[in-house]
């Protein structure tokens, strides 16, 4: 039974991807692009910042990718993808007009409600800026809901910085504290050199630890050291939120690959408060 692509029964079968069209492709770095996607059907998949979609390249496979932006038009999606494995290599090579499959949204989102009326501290490392960018865009859209907004971003080198146009715009904003650091500067870099956790001490004057919500995303080691630094400055564990990465194949808590202790990170995560992760975070290979 052949069904037209626009009528896939995704509502009844959670494994069916919906057809989407790539409408734009922006090269971020040597190996990373940001794609904007538009649905080929009437179905609107509304993702909250922090949630992820499963993106399918037909014949190659499917990968979980966080939403990295807000829809410009209802139903649109924006994803930043780095070529790491076979599926992501294919995704990065897509061009406007290409069709891909999309399932979702899945998982938990950043605690934007909790952050209303609070200081917000976003700490991003490397590609971890992608899921935090959607949170930041949502925060800036309703900037008046939040007190101080602080963004700390670390990348490998200046050439690895994502969203450069956004960054230069955000650096001009008086209502946003943005600090950027790189591990390996090039000869033109005039900014900070060093790891992200070291930036936290520089911005302590901007947040009140008990009334701060921190959101972190980056490599696990970077998150570990960042958490310790935030704890030193008095931010309670239940106000430190992380987005974790694990192998995800079904995205609906049935395939078992993304398990971490009592969590299936595809549905109980990827965003979780550190207070819930703490019992397992020091257990290696758990």
């Amino acid at each position: 039974m052949v069904k037209p692509a626009i009528a896939t029964p995704a509502a009844t079968n959670p494994f069916f991807p919906l057809p989407f069209l790539v409408i734009s492709r922006r090269r971020e770095t040597r190996d990373t692009v940001t794609l904007r996607l538009r649905p080929l059907s009437d179905v609107r998949l509304i993702a909250q910042p922090g949630q992820f979609m499963m993106l399918s390249v037909y014949g190659v496979g499917e990968v979980p990718i966080s939403v990295s932006g807000l829809p410009r038009r209802p139903g649109e999606l924006e994803h930043t993808i780095r070529a790491v494995g076979s599926v992501t290599r294919h995704l990065v090579a897509l061009h406007p007009g290409d069709q891909i499959g999309v399932r979702g949204p899945f998982g938990t989102s950043w605690p934007l409600q909790l952050a209303h009326g609070q200081d917000v501290l976003l700490v991003a490392g490397g590609l971890g800026f992608a899921p935090l960018r959607s949170a930041l865009l949502a925060i800036l859209r309703e900037r008046w809901r939040y007190r101080q907004v602080i963004v700390l971003y670390g990348a490998r080198s200046p050439a690895d910085l994502l969203y450069r146009r956004d960054l230069s715009r955000w650096l001009q904003r008086p209502d946003l504290v943005l600090r950027i650091t790189v591990d390996h500067p090039d000869q033109y870099w005039r900014g900070q050199v060093g790891v992200v956790p070291n930036l936290i001490r520089q911005v302590t004057a901007f947040f009140e630890p008990a009334n701060t919500v921190a959101m972190i995303c980056g490599p696990e080691i970077m998150m570990r050291f960042t958490i310790r630094e935030l704890q030193k400055h008095g931010i309670p564990d239940e106000r430190i939120f992380l987005s974790l990465e694990r192998n995800m194949q079904c995205a609906i808590g049935l395939c078992g690959h993304c398990q971490l202790g009592p969590f299936f990170l595809c549905k109980d995560g990827p965003v979780l408060p550190y207070s819930r992760l703490a019992p397992f975070s020091e257990i290696r290979e758990f």
Binding site: R156, Q192, V195
Partner: protein, 157 residues
Amino acid sequence: MSDRSVLELLATHPFTADLSEDQQAQLAACARIAHFEPDEYLLREGQPATAFYLIVSGLVSIEVFVPGHGPRPLQTVEGGSAVGWSWMLAPSRWEFDARALERTTAVVFDAERLRALFLEDCCLGLRLVQRLLFIVTERLRAARLQLLDLYGPPRER
């Protein structure tokens, strides 16, 4: 800024803020205020290590000069932190360059007088050495993390 005294700066700098007024005065007696323009060197590799810098504001790059590449920044140090500890192990020379990336203000201590003060008042000496050790630890941890190359390069992952 320029009209603030050394004592005023020591009273607010995180490194010295919680010392007693007497101790701050003792330290102030060994120090002066210095301003550095962008690209001006605070200290240079190979020169005698004769000073200790508390960075008040600005941004300083700790770096090494690589022939054919020019200055290679390893870490940056911002206002509220400190630069230089080779002087503690006198007589010694600086092992890296420190160059201002932005206009930078620092309290500069005379190393010889500082060492003498530490020996005279061992309590104060120990407190300050502990603080220096804290900074050294932080810098070392950062260097180790940088060594891990956390964010890539993806082709090796």
